[in-house]
């Protein structure tokens, strides 16, 4: 099996004049959880559907687990699990029937592992899926995606409707796949989840891949939030002169700001003018990084 779980080269999809995906080059590796981020309509689902040969790209190609997404589409499906967004199922089948049906089509599914997954996700497989809540239906979908221990699991908005406890279990399951040397491709809006489980993220906007970075690199490069407490009232202009400081807000003895410069310089200025009582620094979360990307790219595009 190849080292690249997904490899796209110039992948492009147009719907008439609408450019849903533009010249997308992306490599997703085995042994990682890859988060794919982007707002609604950015092209995430189009990318996934192109890779799965559900739609045909206008240009470019995609390789999944070393196989061509179009020519080898059937063989690829032996090695992948897929959970579509806005999951729909055969409402008149029970969860168990659904799993049996797809296990029959796929072959080689270990029923003990299915039971283990159902247990971990607290899934009710006896009820008809048409009678299940969206969260419980989603659990059946997750079992379908994981049950054959595929090399690559592609999931589009998988956490929809899951309660926090199940979300935590689901995140453990994803990490286990990566530890096992397999790959999870996770398209999501739930940035906290991506931050928690993903090794790397790709950010897409208006069909263009904006960046691919490891979560650690992104966060280290990102703006932090700084909160300073003084023994007396302070003036905002003192901090605005420091390189890397922005969005300064002062309320009485407290100053908060966004900062991506040298901490030494900021502390020097702060202590030069006032008596500093406390410093609170918060690492930027993915949501802020994400929003920052869109501010920048929005101006660029």
């Amino acid at each position: 099996m190849t080292d690249a779980a997904i490899l796209t080269e110039g992948l492009t999809k147009h719907y008439g004049d609408v450019k849903a995906l533009v010249d997308l080059d992306l490599e997703v590796r085995m042994g990682e959880v890859f988060g794919f981020l982007g707002p609604n309509g950015a092209g995430k689902t189009t990318m996934i559907r192109s890779c799965l040969d559900l739609i045909h790209p206008t240009a470019g190609k995609a390789t999944l687990v070393g196989l061509d997404s179009h020519a080898d589409s059937v063989e690829i499906r032996r090695h992948i699990g897929y959970l579509p967004s806005d999951l729909s199922m055969y409402g008149d089948l029970t969860g168990r029937d659904m799993i049996t049906y797809f296990a029959n089509l796929r072959g080689g599914v270990d029923q003990n592992y299915v039971d283990e997954l159902a247990d971990r996700l607290q899934a009710d497989l006896a009820k008809k899926v048409g009678d299940l809540s969206s969260g419980n239906r989603q659990k059946v979908g997750l079992i379908l995606a994981f049950m054959s221990r595929p090399q690559l699991i592609i999931m589009d908005e998988p956490s929809t409707g899951l309660d926090p406890l199940v979300q935590r279990e689901f995140q453990s399951m994803m990490r286990e796949v990566a530890i096992d040397g397999r790959c999870v491709f996770l398209s999501s809006h739930t940035l906290s989840e991506v931050q928690r489980v993903a090794d790397r993220v790709g950010i897409i906007r208006s069909g263009h891949l904006v960046d691919v970075e490891s979560v650690g690199d992104l966060r280290s490069k990102a703006i932090r939030s700084i909160e300073l407490h003084f023994d007396s009232a302070v003036d905002a202009t003192v901090f605005e002169s420091v390189d890397g400081v922005r969005d300064v807000m002062v309320v009485d003895h407290h100053a908060t700001m966004s900062f991506d410069g040298q901490m030494d310089a900021l502390l020097r200025v702060a202590t030069e003018h006032y008596t500093l009582l406390d410093v609170n620094t918060q690492e930027a979360d993915l949501e802020e990084i994400f929003l920052e990307y869109y501010r920048q790219e929005g101006a660029a595009l």
Binding site: L52, V74, R77, S88, M89, D97, L105
Partner: protein, 550 residues
């Protein structure tokens, strides 16, 4: 068009009504054109009793009366009724089943407000259909140059609308009480088909009184086309419609509304019962999800049961019924000229085999199997796409071609079950009725050809479904092909200039050799089977080439 529930309901449904009316108007136009050149003088030589039976007034009878009668008495009424049923069933139960009724009632709107708006939209669409058919009937006659003197086009249009309204409101009422769209449309369609059969067959055996029990009787018995609108009949249909509405008015208020969810079937209940669980798991549990073919076939168990059940009942009943037809009638049938026999599908109704062919296999059989297999063909691919399950299915190691072929195999399985049930019912009925003239070989032959005939239309539906991913397109295209080929088989056969076209109609391949009497025509069987295989073969690249929806 999104101003309120009424306008949105009209917007959602008016296209199906107008497409139905347009198809009917187009067929009428062709019908008038074909009839114009037909020598109908033989009608005037028929005995007075036959003319009375056929609702023909010798004073006013002409091309227009014949063509409009052929169009509206049966096909028109079924199309308008079918459209009305689909609107009525979708109105409340349909919204409940897809989960939008709760969303609707999240607004300052009562259940009964919604019911009234939906009912008003149904009435408006049916009135529009009636007006459309009335105008197109007049314009067609003008265009072709046919005299419409003596026919009551306004009356037949009103009767069609009222008849359709009753079945639409019946479906609406059942949907309002149960929240089940399938039940609403199934029961209403069953009442319509049984009503048609009862109203037309019971008078043949002097059971006119019993025929009064069927609503269809109040549409057709007094022939509004030839005699004008019978106000008493119109009042009965109108009154029954009001009763249905009142029923819906009470039902929708009384019960708990359903969220979108699955229907609990008898199989589910048996599966839940510890006594029967093991057996049902084998039959309806893991067995039905063993593969694409079996699962696809199992989804149509309900429709198969209804359609094949009707055919079994008809097959059993008609050969026995023949014995009760007064000799006078049989003799009258025997006097029908060849041209008239050609017009009713080339069957000699004076013989048991002709009567069985005419009553079971000429019209009811084709309609039932087309409904079954066209629905299946449409749902096979487009249905999976529209319900967004195709992506999940395609995540498994199956090619698009394999999916098409396996769905087609499911269609074959259902068609065979339908044909076998029809044959069994007809065979038992013929044995009990003592119809020695009808052989087992003949029954097997006509049933086999009916099976292949149905598969051709299932194949059309599958191909359109594969090409477009839209169930509606597949259903309407198949309906269109069925109407055109039926028209080729019946009307064009009567014209000298276009009679050869008949040879291209699947109806001709199915019934042209009179298989109940003469046994199977292998050429016709090959034509039908070949057409089905070709349509499936075409479906594979059509499905493989395009972007999938859902």
């Amino acid at each position: 068009m999104l101003a309120n529930v009424f306008t949105k309901s009209v917007r959602d449904r008016v296209s199906s009504g107008l497409i139905g009316a347009l198809a009917l108007a187009a067929t009428l136009l062709f019908g008038l054109w074909a009839y114009k050149d037909v020598d109908i003088s033989f009608y005037y030589d028929l005995p007075a009793a036959v003319l009375e039976l056929m609702g023909i007034d010798p004073e006013t009878f002409g091309v227009a009366s014949m063509a409009y009668g052929a169009m509206y008495d049966f096909m028109g009424a079924f199309i308008v009724g079918g459209v009305a049923i689909s609107i009525g069933a979708a109105a409340i139960a349909g919204e409940e089943q897809v989960g939008t009724f709760g969303l609707l009632l999240g607004n300052p709107l009562s259940r009964r407000d919604a019911l009234v708006s939906k009912t008003a939209s149904l009435v408006l669409i049916l009135v529009l259909m009636g007006v459309f058919l009335w105008v197109s009937a007049i314009l067609s006659a003008e265009l072709i140059g046919v005299d419409t003197g003596g026919v009551h086009l306004g009356a037949i249009s009103v009767a069609l609308t009222l008849n359709g309204l009753f079945y639409g409101l019946l479906a609406l009422a059942i949907g309002s009480w149960t929240g089940r769209r399938g039940k609403a449309s199934g029961v209403a369609a069953g009442v319509m088909v049984l009503g048609y059969l009862g109203a037309n067959l019971l008078p043949l055996i002097d059971q006119d009184g019993l025929a009064h029990l069927f609503p269809w009787y109040y549409y057709s018995s007094n022939s509004p086309l030839n005699n004008g609108l019978n106000m008493a009949d119109a009042a009965v249909l109108g009154g029954l419609s009001i009763v249905c509405f009142a029923f819906a008015w009470v039902g929708i208020q009384k019960r708990d509304l359903r969220d979108k969810g699955a229907e609990v079937t008898m199989a589910d209940r048996l599966r839940a019962n510890p006594m029967t669980r093991k057996m049902m798991e084998r039959i309806a549990g893991s067995a039905r999800v063993s593969g694409i073919t079996v699962k696809s076939a199992s989804e149509f168990q309900g429709l198969l049961t209804v359609t094949a059940g009707i055919m079994f009942y008809m097959g059993f009943f008609i050969p026995i019924l023949y014995n009760f037809i007064p000799t006078d009638f049989v003799e009258i049938f025997a006097t029908f000229p060849d041209a008239l026999i050609a017009m009713i599908g080339g069957v000699d109704m004076s013989t048991p085999a002709g009567f069985v062919t005419g009553e079971i296999f000429s019209l009811v059989g084709p309609i039932a199997i087309i409904v079954l297999l066209a629905s299946m063909g449409a749902r096979a691919l487009a249905g999976e796409e529209e319900s967004h399950t195709m992506g999940l299915l395609m995540a498994n190691p199956v090619s698009r071609g394999e999916i098409v072929v396996k769905k087609a195999l499911a269609m074959v399985a259902l068609a065979v079950a339908f044909g076998a049930t029809t044959a069994l019912g007809t065979w038992i009925g013929s044995l009990i009725g003592g119809q020695d003239e009808i052989s087992l070989d003949g029954i097997a032959s006509i049933s086999a050809l009916l099976t292949l005939f149905g598969l051709v239309f299932g194949g059309v539906s599958l191909a359109v479904s594969a090409a477009t991913g839209r169930r509606k397109f597949a259903t309407w295209a198949t309906t269109g092909v069925a109407l055109v080929t039926w028209f080729m088989f019946t009307f064009l056969a009567l014209t000298e200039s276009a009679a050869a076209v008949t040879n291209f109609s699947p109806f001709q391949w199915y019934l042209g050799s009179d298989p109940l009497v003469n046994g199977i025509s292998w050429t016709d069987a090959a034509l039908l089977g070949g057409a089905f295989v070709a349509l499936v073969a075409v479906s594979v690249p059509l499905f493989a080439q395009r972007d999938l929806r859902g």
